[in-house]
Symmetry: C2
Subunit: 545 residues, 2 copies
Amino acid sequence: MKIALAQINVIIGDFENNNRKILNYISRAKDMGAAMVIFPELATTGYPPRDFLEFSDFIEKAEQSIEKIKEASKDIAVVIGSPTRNPVVEGKDLYNSVVFLYQGKEIYRQHKTLLPTYDIFDEARYFEEATRWQVVRFKGYKIALSICEDLWNLGNENPLYTINPMEKLMPQQPDFIINVSASPFDYTHAAERIRILKENVKAYQIPLFYVNHVGAQTDIIFDGGSLVIAPDQTVHTEMPYFKEGLQIIDLEDVNGSTTNREQPKDKIPLIHDALVLGIKDYFGKIGFKTAITGLSGGLDSAVTTVLAVEALGKDNVRVLLMPSQFSSEHSVKDAVDLAKNLGIRYDIVPIKDIFKSYLQQLNPLFEGRDFDVTEENIQARIRGNLLMALSNKFGNILLNTTNKSEMAVGYGTLYGDLAGGLSVIGDVYKTEVYELARYINRHKEIIPFHTIQKPPSAELRPGQKDSDSLPPYDILDTVLKQYIENRQGPKEIIAQGFDPSLVERILKMVNRNEFKRHQTAPVLRVSPKAFGMGRRMPIVAKYLE
Amino acid sequence: MKIALAQINVIIGDFENNNRKILNYISRAKDMGAAMVIFPELATTGYPPRDFLEFSDFIEKAEQSIEKIKEASKDIAVVIGSPTRNPVVEGKDLYNSVVFLYQGKEIYRQHKTLLPTYDIFDEARYFEEATRWQVVRFKGYKIALSICEDLWNLGNENPLYTINPMEKLMPQQPDFIINVSASPFDYTHAAERIRILKENVKAYQIPLFYVNHVGAQTDIIFDGGSLVIAPDQTVHTEMPYFKEGLQIIDLEDVNGSTTNREQPKDKIPLIHDALVLGIKDYFGKIGFKTAITGLSGGLDSAVTTVLAVEALGKDNVRVLLMPSQFSSEHSVKDAVDLAKNLGIRYDIVPIKDIFKSYLQQLNPLFEGRDFDVTEENIQARIRGNLLMALSNKFGNILLNTTNKSEMAVGYGTLYGDLAGGLSVIGDVYKTEVYELARYINRHKEIIPFHTIQKPPSAELRPGQKDSDSLPPYDILDTVLKQYIENRQGPKEIIAQGFDPSLVERILKMVNRNEFKRHQTAPVLRVSPKAFGMGRRMPIVAKYLE
């Protein structure tokens, strides 16, 4: 029996186009001789639909999609994720379901049991959990249907749930497992996903067909990498990362498979490809073509601009250089060199005169007071205003160039360099931005060598360097990672050998700057713990402050 | 037996000061002859602690607080909410618990059963639900302990949960119910709370002691209003709204009580008081004293400024007037009149020259193009920059003055008039802002009559009025409320008699401007559905667009 894996990229709430794509994949799968085609979790709506799920109208549209897909299930079974209504008045109003459609009928509907409610996930907000589990019979096979997290309570040191839906299905002796997923990318996740799925195959000794979403939904990036795992835990198939696709697998081939077909999972290339897709889908899905960045001659804006060019093409990216009286000689040259290397349009608008006009107007109020962070921020906000002016006038989206280290400690100006519609490298620590730059330059020098080499600086006062106000980035990033990704407290981090006062200073900076992160653009998520929906912190608080 | 209700205002994560306050209330309750003192839900940590709960160090600090409180429970029972660890490896790592302490010992620990996971609530993210329910015996009484939502599955048309913890406790024949709560304010909530609690008393026929938090935690405002309800459903006691307090109730009095002591619950005065407390606590809890607003002569900035003065005092609020060449004659006069009425400092910084310097620098790039929204936005962002400059130089916090109608449809400039550390009236529709203004002026004209009377305008181009780009506010607000608060889809709203194309236009504006709301300040929540954590929408989506 031939089974098709449909790894698709949909737009949240775009029922018409999503359905057109689904119907097209069904017809292609049928043409290729598949008896069954599998789509991801909540494929009709896109994932995560968030509070749109609370609108009855939205659910009705998903139901109408399923009706149309049902009609297309003539001579091919369609297994697809969609929200369904809970007919019982008690409990949440919805289920997160996978429906099994065949010959124009709904054969079975399995609800999701384990509802992830951590990090970026909010499923307990919307869905009631399954209380019934049943295999589906199809062409002589018995199939265990599961949805994403349903397989993730196995092989964990600290299981999040007290039940395991596969344990309910195994007594019915299924021949294989289907899992429809919405499993977002982070640079550790593809390996972890394979580990967990292998644990399931090891426990149940039957093949597993796993179909994931691909594509970015604002900040959340789905990498695809749909899988077929053979009973001996060999990865029979791993579909490409970051690309849509349809793949046909012969079930009979899977059982005898011994060749491992896993793809490489190197961190920096994965992050690179994820960010490019993240930019591409953000623009494509809201119907914008062109981007603008502020190019300072520094590393962060250089890397962001290169990624934008890869995502959108050189004719769709323009940059603005906005030197101040404090900009170093090399800054403009480095920025121009990069623009020339990329073949993109650049313009230069110095901010000195505008800055002077602010100081003049503010003089009656500021007289007798020293130059301080205020004047630094005024300059950063002039740049923000100029970039947004070009964005408004020419219909470009401003890409934010702040890195994760800066976001963490609040080293940036709200409405200034923190402005922008999308934060490209806000989940990439400064030390990783260097790695990305070297990866970008792997074949030839795209980012000027001098940009990578020089000490980082905001250039907002004479001779300023990041190291004046921040610890060295290698130490800073290590401490931040312990606190943010690993949720270690001060005691635990200090026990690793870091200077206690430094650790306390860094943690305090992180917590005090929550108000800034609250007002910044969505951050493309590439790590297991990104700023945004996945990390929910109080703004007004006194913990570690 | 005398029972003390301790309606306290704590700071999230400020264990030292929270504990000092709790110990002080215990000692006062003891002095007043109470046999028992009841504190709110998660009183040790503050509510909501959000992802701080994922830090073992944070939980340890809460445990240390409980240890100290236990020592203080000599000769007085202390009933208090705090997070506790789940000793079982399966399931979430924490419980949301109420502990019963007496004579230096923990007598019992009841976990929360119903974990709200909707709107602003994320409890399923952190907590495992209770599976054991037991009354506590104290001085001959049997007490049913419950936590907030535990009582809220009764008397609802659409119950969210399939179990009801009181049904587990009633067979043990408790003499009264204690409920420790973190039940946030909205203008409908105090009445709804009493309705639900009366439903419980009606069902179980025993008195109910209910203790709530008071105080604002960033955007979430707790109103207090702790309650004692007599077996005949009379409101024996309702503690004040928006004020800390300790109240002693004699249990014997409650049983015979027939006098209803409910407070008035008029919408506009409640919203007014909530916003004043919201501002006050935001500043007090982060240790700032002074605020700045941009005063345009319009209604929104006038109301915001009056509320700030009420919260912080007239010496702690200053305003900046930033007329443009498009400002009407009356704008400056109206703004100055208000500043004089309030007795606050005002400064005037015209933006014309700065605007000119931007246009001059941008001229080479903009040549030949028409004045459009770009030039409007540049002016709004100059104002944002000036306000933030004063904020930075003098250590004031900028209060945002955008109302809910504008926030909803995106009528505002990111980094311009949408700037600020706290949005004061972002959950108040324009039509309600008028009501607030009239309430503020109830005794004398504080807000100039002309400010209330004139047609709203952003004054960013010649002769501009809000009504040029927006429907009349009474229609707009009604449609918005149906969509936002009541989660009605286009069909349902149109069926109420609104023009279909208008409804579609409004809903599209709301959805398209999610990216702006993502980058704005926390909004003081006064309605059942505010922008912020309680309303989670995708940014990139095509639903109703």
